[in-house]
């Protein structure tokens, strides 16, 4: 197990200011480490990877990691990534978005990227709040969340990112947490290898904006919450429906091998060229 940290340091841009901007205990750092381990484990060259990130805490990830990186406008990470993938299908395009970035501001883009099944690997870092912009409640904040814009608890029903991606037609959908880091490594490696649109929702704690206002004394309490309130999908399906409400399932929800849009596009182009030449 040793030498993991050294490996991560090899992939960072050390001319950027370190330690990174994330608050103490923020799970985004763990996701960054997990992503680096997965990319290294699969043996991709740094130049073959494009990391596209939107705005928000998750957007800072593109700054720190030594791949080809694009830091895009709010919610539009998937549109930039779609362009990159269609222009050069040989690149491995990873999109990192936050929950507000993916579900509300870029919600439409997520639906249509999943519908097209374009070959992108999307990591949605779900911390249930708009962390960087001041702690407004986001589309994934649970009912009753106290936040900067809902001091008496918010009343809206929250999005389930996994259900949404599955309904939109993504070919690989999974959910993990930053506490289950080894499992997360597996999910991200799996997603990187699959064709088509892959989405991994990652539950990550935001203590500064979410935890402090919602009865989590320390950031460690939030990790303990993940330990107590998440179950593997196999076990979750065996639970009774009353018990299911208490837990969040983690694991692989859909795993289909469907060709991505860029592959189908290349096939069509070849077919038309053959027809013209014949």
């Amino acid at each position: 197990m040793a030498q993991v940290t050294q490996l991560i340091h090899d992939y960072l841009r050390h001319n950027k200011k370190f330690p990174h901007v994330y608050c103490a205990g923020c799970g985004h750092g763990i996701v960054l480490g997990s992503l680096i381990r997965s990319v290294h484990g699969l043996g991709y060259a740094k130049d073959d990877i494009v990391l596209v990130a939107g705005i928000g805490c998750s957007g800072r990830m593109a700054v720190y990691v030594d791949f080809n990186t694009v830091h895009t406008t709010h919610g539009r990470a998937l549109t930039f990534a779609t362009g990159i993938k269609m222009a050069n299908p040989n690149l491995k395009v990873i999109v990192v978005m936050g929950d507000g970035d993916a579900m509300s501001i870029g919600g439409n883009h997520l639906i249509h990227a999943a519908r097209r099944n374009i070959g992108l690997t999307t990591l949605v870092l779900n911390n249930n709040i708009y962390g960087m912009t001041g702690g407004q409640y986001s589309p994934t904040s649970p009912v009753g969340t106290v936040s900067a814009t809902s001091p008496f608890g918010q009343l809206e029903r929250s999005f389930d990112i996994v259900d949404m991606a599955m309904a939109s037609g993504a070919s690989y959908v999974a959910r993990g947490t930053v506490l289950h880091a080894t499992m997360l490594d597996g999910l991200i490696s799996d997603a990187l290898e699959k064709p088509g649109f892959n989405l991994v929702e990652i539950l990550t704690p935001c203590h500064t904006q979410y935890g402090r206002k919602n009865k989590f004394k320390t950031v460690v309490d939030m990790y303990q919450w993940y330990k107590k309130n998440t179950v593997k999908l196999d076990r979750y399906r065996q639970l009774k429906s009353e018990e299911q409400d208490k837990f969040t399932p983690i694991g692989v929800f859909r795993d289909e091998m469907r060709p991505g849009l860029e592959t189908r596009y290349a096939e069509l182009r070849n077919k038309l060229q053959e027809q013209r030449n014949a």
């Binding site: 993991v4 340091h9 330690p19 205990g25 923020c26 799970g27 763990i30 480490g33 950031v219």
Partner: protein, 114 residues
Amino acid sequence: MSKKKGLAKVTIYPDWCKGCGICAAFCPAGVFELRADGKSHVVREEECVNCGFCELHCPDFAVSVTPKEISRRKTDACVDPRVEAADPSAGTDPGPEENVGTPNREEDHGHKKA
């Protein structure tokens, strides 16, 4: 590396540590302790079972678990027989250190003669 106690060296880079306390709270062997300076400190390194939890979960990449110096020397010692075994003429050769030393000495002599 086996999961035995006392074989791992745990290092914390204090400049990168933000003192979130994840390592101190979840370490199964209680190796870490949060102190008043807001950083995590290694207090019981000999108890480390080398599970790797802290390395995987440190959000700031500030913990590293490496094999201890003693075990590193052991592996160095292990490398030499492997080199000898790989070399077909190893049986008659003297030790690798002398092998490295001899050509240099000859070169030196050569330079002096010239």
